[in-house]
């Protein structure tokens, strides 16, 4: 059988019994979203951060408990990374145009998520270490346990924490996006001439 014979058979098919759009709940229904769960999680992290800010802002300005400040800064970084991820997923879904444009756009957004997971996240944690060190040296958080720890030990702690964060975020990216990204790259390669 040739492709053209197949076409005529395909076009002879009776499709009257196929379900129409009226059989689906258009207003309440949601098409499958490969990143639906991740998007929801990113949204919740950001909302949690926003709620925490509203609740704890009076304590932040009055009580200078170093542990509290650090936890708050960590939460800020996590929520910023989550917000970037959420924004990129939304932009990826909004992509218009032909198949190739959509593929290129998806790959670009997935790379942007990777950058925010790895580079942005690491950059902010390095910045956090600098801020913390500055606060300790200028006694903004005096009377804390941090002052009693020798600088080299603190440095090791910072490094260990940053490396842990890096590994954690890399794993998270691989788990959530890596296989999808490689399938998109594979699809894009299929659009090129062999």
């Amino acid at each position: 059988m040739e492709l053209d014979d197949f076409r005529s058979l395909l076009n002879q098919a009776d499709t009257t019994n196929l379900p129409g759009a009226q059989e689906f709940s258009l207003k309440d229904g949601h098409a499958y979203d490969p990143f639906g769960q991740i998007k929801k999680r990113c949204g919740w992290i950001f909302l949690f951060f926003a709620a925490t800010t509203v609740i704890f802002i009076p304590f932040l300005s009055s009580d200078k408990n170093p542990l509290f400040i650090i936890l708050y800064l960590i939460l800020s970084i996590e929520s910023l990374v989550a917000l970037t991820g959420y924004w990129q997923i939304r932009s990826m879904e909004r992509a218009r145009g032909n198949i190739k444009q959509n593929l290129v756009s998806r790959i670009r957004h997935l790379h942007a998520i990777f950058r925010s997971y790895i580079y942005l996240n690491t950059f902010f944690y390095i910045l956090l270490a600098f801020i913390l060190e500055y606060m300790i040296r200028d006694h903004f958080i005096s009377g804390s346990i941090f002052e009693n720890i020798a600088f080299p030990v603190r440095l090791v702690f910072y490094l260990a924490f940053i490396v842990f964060q890096y590994i954690q975020k890399r794993r998270s990216f691989q788990k959530n996006y890596s296989s999808y990204l490689s399938s998109m790259i594979q699809l894009l390669n299929q659009t090129h001439e062999e």
Binding site: M1, L3, D5, F6, R7, L9, L10, A13, D14, T15, N17, L18, P19, G20, A21, Q22, F24, L26, K27, G29, H30, A31, Y32, D33, P34, R96, G97, N98, I99, K100, Q101, N102, R106, S179, Y180, S183, M184, L187, Q190, T191, H192, E193, E194
Partner: protein, 165 residues
């Protein structure tokens, strides 16, 4: 004039349903080539309709509705492929036969299996070719340049011939 513009920018559900009714064969063809099992086909069919409804306000009527719907259907099938294509091996003939609304004709089913064995982009090109789109229209839907499309189509035909030998 303003009223006409508003109506076309915010189409009613009924208008959309009528258009889908006229083109549901097109959606089913995409499902037939991109989903492995009957359940997956039904899921993909529903997802394409919901995705089309979500995107319909953005339909500018610069192209035919069927061309636009092809773009939406292929994008939905390709980009959500983790769900619909857990297994990339070609289907056995018996499974490919299941619940096909088209035919129980054996040569037809063998060709169907041969097309299923092509890669994702090749499958989309075959679908557009079977639908009678010319290379210009195929280029608009896929974004692949005319020259590359011609080369790809001739290779696809050769692959199918080899498969059917």
């Amino acid at each position: 004039m303003l009223l006409i513009y508003t109506v076309s920018k915010h189409p009613t559900e009924t208008q959309f349903m009528d258009l889908i009714d006229q083109n549901k064969g097109l959606i089913w063809k995409v499902c037939l080539f991109y989903a492995a099992t009957e359940t997956d086909r039904q899921d993909l069919y529903q997802d394409i309709i919901l995705q089309a409804w979500k995107s319909y306000p953005g339909f500018r009527q610069e192209s035919k509705f069927s061309t636009w719907l092809y773009r939406i259907s292929l994008n939905t099938a390709l980009f959500a492929r983790r769900k619909y294509r857990p297994d990339i091996r070609p289907l056995p003939v018996e499974l490919a036969n299941s619940a096909s609304p088209y035919s129980d004709n054996e040569p037809f089913e063998i060709m169907h299996v041969a097309i299923r064995a092509l890669n994702e982009i090749e499958k989309s090109l075959v679908l557009l070719y079977l639908e009678g789109y010319n290379y210009d229209e195929m280029e608009k839907i896929t974004g692949i340049s005319g020259g590359t499309l011609r080369v790809k189509m001739s290779r696809i035909k050769q692959k199918l011939k080899n498969f059917l030998k």
